[in-house]
């Protein structure tokens, strides 16, 4: 479904990604773990064309999207709930969801809205409220719900558990699992919360300073001593 090969990305002179290869198959949950600053967020953003890959190719469902403008990529079926949630704080919850539906047909809107409200009932209660007044967990749910409004086939999630209470994290991961299983949405999940994320994943990659250092099934990486030492012990 998504094939990333030999991708390099630069911020000015700094090389943040130095030849990344990642393959995501339809229907999978693929997790990417790695230390802070490894380049995980840069990879997700590069898939969406901002920043653009300076070398390498990104193919989505057979189409080369490496040079496509960011605003056209979501229309192909890739949505992202980016790092830091980036909800529109001065807009209502409803307007945030409308923004998520930018590229879909208007007649789908009501149906899609019911669908994300069923996944995150709290958002329904809060729909008229300014998004900036939501709690951290609710903002994360809104960020994911907004991404889902575009009817993605591939959902990119960047550290959805960051800074959230364990109970909320559990709820969010449960929803991720649900949309993957019930709606067949493929998920590419970036996490520092490696334990949960690896348990959830069909397959996983480890990134170290702009390169993929290891890959395997979620279970394999969970039992790998190096991974345990670096990402699970103490941190988890």
């Amino acid at each position: 479904m998504l094939a990333i090969s030999g991708v390099h990305t630069h911020y000015g002179n700094i090389e943040a990604l130095s030849g990344v290869d990642v393959e995501i198959r339809s229907g999978e949950i693929v997790t990417l773990i790695g230390a802070n600053g490894a380049g995980k967020s840069t990879l997700l953003m590069t898939i969406c064309g901002n920043p653009r890959a300076s070398r390498g190719r990104i193919i989505f469902e057979g189409q080369d999207i490496t040079r496509l403008p960011t605003h056209q990529i979501v229309g192909l079926g890739i949505a992202q709930a980016p790092e830091g949630r980036r909800i529109f704080a001065r807009m209502s919850v409803m307007e945030n969801l409308q923004m998520g539906a930018t590229t879909t047909k208007p007649e789908y809107f009501d149906h899609d809205l019911d669908r994300v409200f069923a996944l995150f009932p709290i958002l329904k209660e809060r729909r008229g409220q300014r998004a900036g007044t939501l709690s951290g967990g609710e903002q994360q749910m809104l960020s994911i719900a907004r991404a889902l409004m575009s009817r993605p086939r591939l959902l990119l999630l960047d550290e959805p558990s960051l800074g959230l209470a364990p109970l909320v994290v559990k709820q969010i991961f449960r929803v991720v699992k649900e949309i993957n299983e019930r709606e067949r949405v493929t998920v590419f999940l970036v996490e520092q919360n490696a334990f949960h994320a690896l348990r959830l994943a069909h397959r996983a990659y480890v990134m170290v300073t702009g390169r993929i250092s290891m890959s395997g099934t979620g279970r394999e990486l969970l039992s790998n001593p190096e991974v345990r030492l670096a990402y699970l012990e103490g941190g988890g």
Partner: protein
């Protein structure tokens, strides 16, 4: 009392002009963080297009004022919008992402260029227009002092009110307005959701220019004379209005315009006409000292 009411009426008319221009400053600032110093010139071009349009319509024998005004309004808004669009496209877009100073200098350059362009095309002489709307109501009279509200002023108020209402509805209720507000808050996120940011910015310039064009038309029919230099002072006053109301805030721009218009009218009425500009700018300085975000501007407390 009568004098007060008369200055109030004059101030509201002036405020309509400043408010309509100020919206363009505040919108552009809100979305790309840039002061479009050429916006005053866009207003001036609007005034010239109105004048040419009225005269051309007159040549073709269209002299029935309501229709002539309506056609002029539409033509002026459309053509001035093209100027706004072109300005952004050729002068500002190539500089997006470069240091603010570069954009600022370009804006000042465009302002000078547009002034000279109109001066060359239209000449430096003042252009007159015979009054289109005359007559009015007498609202008060005492000891020989007559307070009048002209039909012209009434027309200006209604036109401004209608346009500001339509404009507010576009910003608050439509997908375009939502996209503009989203770009204002987080352009990168808006593009991740499929918003064409360049197009949204273009449309922001188009809307700002169309409203400035209406201010130009109002200026023309209210004062009856224009020249290539009117954009300078009106532009600075409108910019002051935008800052006074809180730059980036749309209701702020409208309120700021109104206040600057009133301050100017009352100052000229009660003190000296010579220092009316100083009065507006002094108020601005005071506001910036005691309330740097402007009257309706809000510090971004919610931005986590």
């Amino acid at each position: 009392m009568e004098y007060f009411v008369q200055q109030l009426i004059n101030g509201l008319t002036l405020g309509a002009i400043y408010g309509l221009i100020a919206i363009g400053y505040t919108m552009v600032y809100g979305i790309i963080g840039m002061i479009n110093f050429a916006h005053g010139e866009v207003f001036m071009i609007g005034a010239f297009i109105s004048l040419i349009c009225v005269m051309v319509l007159g040549m073709f024998g269209l002299t029935w004022v309501p229709l002539a005004l309506l056609v002029t309004l539409i033509v002026t808004m459309a053509l001035t919008a093209v100027y706004g669009w072109t300005l952004e496209r050729i002068a500002y877009r190539p500089l997006r992402g470069s240091p603010r100073l570069a954009a600022l200098i370009t804006a000042i350059g465009m302002s000078i260029f547009l002034q000279n362009y109109v001066q060359l095309l239209q000449g430096a002489r003042v252009k007159p227009l015979q009054p289109l709307i005359s007559g009015g109501f007498e609202i008060m009279r005492r000891e020989g002092f007559v307070v009048s509200l002209s039909y012209l002023q009434l027309f200006i108020w209604i036109l401004t009110l209608v346009l500001m209402t339509i404009f507010t509805l576009i910003i608050t209720r439509t997908a375009l307005g939502r996209a503009q507000r989203a770009c204002e808050q987080d352009m990168g996120m808006a593009s991740l959701l499929g918003i064409n940011v360049d197009r949204t910015i273009s449309l922001t310039f188009v809307m700002g220019a169309a409203l400035a064009a209406v201010a130009g038309l109002i200026f023309l029919i209210n004062y009856g004379v224009i020249d290539f230099y009117i954009g300078f002072l009106a532009g600075i006053k409108a910019f002051t209005a935008a800052v006074l109301g809180g730059i980036g805030s749309l209701p702020g721009a409208m309120l700021g315009g109104l206040l600057i218009g009133l301050i100017e009218a009352f100052w000229s009425g009660y003190f000296t006409v010579e220092y009316k500009d100083v009065a507006s700018f002094s108020i601005l300085v005071l506001v910036l000292i005691f309330r740097p975000t402007g009257l309706l501007g809000k510090p971004d407390i919610e931005k986590v």
